[in-house]
């Protein structure tokens, strides 16, 4: 299917390693309330962050193939780890359908915000080790200094609901203590789980630092792209997202509420 054949009524496809990408769903619903959304979360193999590039690339191809069954007009890679290590795999797996990764969207917005050319990035082990944020930022402006920090415990803390817990404050201090001394003026939340812990992160990193939520960044970029290519759905009605997952664990409903602030709708289970 070429981009000319895409129909504005087709859904926006979004995928993530698990449920973290729901922060992207929420941001897209807010920015584009008339669009149909289809979301796939690979809950049977989550998390991707601590795994190898080979495995992450294999999973990215599987995830794209699942969304392709629903003829999306655009595919959004809500997973920072996949955006960092396997965006080309997604692009190759979906023909001419445009692909938007959270990473490049977040990098672009951070470059627009920084005044002192010092940007901090926090993310999973795989995202930070890939150096993909620094590359994307320096492609836009080679003079910007990027200071990165992996924060692997933030995902389990968010998923366990330790939102404003003293444990989370102590972990945030452990991870962000060093980056706080680096005179950054902008901090990218380079993992879709991190907006859940935004308050603790903001308090720990200190005042005057602009926080870039990659979920909001990707929503802005999606609106821009659909508008430019005449694919905005102007006649659609606000609807609940169509949810696909590869596993339905006991606490899925609790996590959905934590991320979306609303009751869990029907969910389809798909095999990976």
């Amino acid at each position: 299917m070429s981009i000319e054949q895409l129909n504005s009524e087709n859904p926006i496809g979004i995928f993530d390693s698990g449920i973290g990408g729901l922060t992207v769903v929420k941001a897209i619903q807010a920015a584009l309330p008339s669009e149909r959304l289809i979301y796939f979360g690979d809950t049977a193999r989550v998390p991707y962050g601590p795994k190898s590039q080979v495995t992450i690339r294999k999973y990215a191809a599987d995830d794209t193939a699942i969304l392709m069954r629903y003829q999306p007009k655009v595919i959004i890679v809500a997973c920072n780890t996949v955006s960092a290590l396997a965006l080309d795999v997604v692009e190759k797996s979906c023909g001419n359908i445009p692909v938007i990764g959270v990473l490049k969207s977040g990098a672009k917005l951070a470059v627009e915000w920084t005044n002192n050319n010092r940007i901090g990035v926090i993310g999973t082990q795989a995202t930070v080790c890939s150096n993909a944020y620094a590359c994307a930022i320096n492609q836009l402006d080679p003079d910007i200094e990027v200071i990165s920090q992996a924060c692997p415990l933030f995902v389990p803390l968010a998923e366990e609901g330790f939102i404003n817990h003293p444990v989370t404050k102590l972990v945030a201090e452990h991870y962000l203590g060093e980056i706080r001394k680096q005179d950054i003026d902008t901090l990218v939340l380079g993992c879709t789980h991190y907006p859940i812990l935004r308050q603790v992160i903001e308090e720990t990193i200190g005042g005057g630092i602009h926080i870039i939520d990659s979920a909001e960044a990707v929503a802005l970029r999606t609106r821009e792209l659909l508008s430019e290519s005449g694919l905005l759905n102007r006649s659609g009605k606000a609807s609940v997202p169509h949810l696909l997952v590869s596993d339905l664990p006991q606490k899925f409903s609790m996590l959905y509420q934590l991320f979306m602030g609303s009751e869990l709708p029907d969910v389809d289970l798909v095999e990976v």
Copy 2:
């Protein structure tokens, strides 16, 4: 292959959702230094603890099939979550080969130790919700009271090397504060990662409580079973375990050292 056809020189097969089962490998090496060990860790799909029973049962069948290629004389389920939710799947997948799960071994040892008939059990969400420890303990002695507590953050804390960190002490206080008031005299570490955090767990739960390490329990049970069935390898030489994994992430070597206290040997990558 019937149990009569099994050869004492065949290896002991051990599997786990990831690298946590290496605590079982270490305990078996100590108890049975002349045995050949083959270990499979499903590092591409770890963790199992937060996932659903359907998915855990599917993964258990895959893991058993991988070990079966090496003609083990016994299969040890080093994963408490699989032992709790899918031991029958493993038994069905491996014909007449004896299967030993960490869970029943841990339960048996705890029943032998308790004097006041009050046993605490800590484990993953899936293990605790399955109620499998309480069932196994009460099958041996219906008068014993079992007090269980899921400690989902212990696994990521152990894997991040937060061994004696103030964060781990605070998390331990959060999980164990309530169980400490329950007058237990025995506590089962119902997850193979927990021995890594044993010191913090012991300090938090308080003195006078006997800790059951399910890795040590399963090693004792394995020696017993091999001895009873004439399958002890009396002529073997101590050797490094044969390691199979489904993913080889960057920090695998660091984690191997954390669990085994020795340098990482050669590792084979297998597809699941």
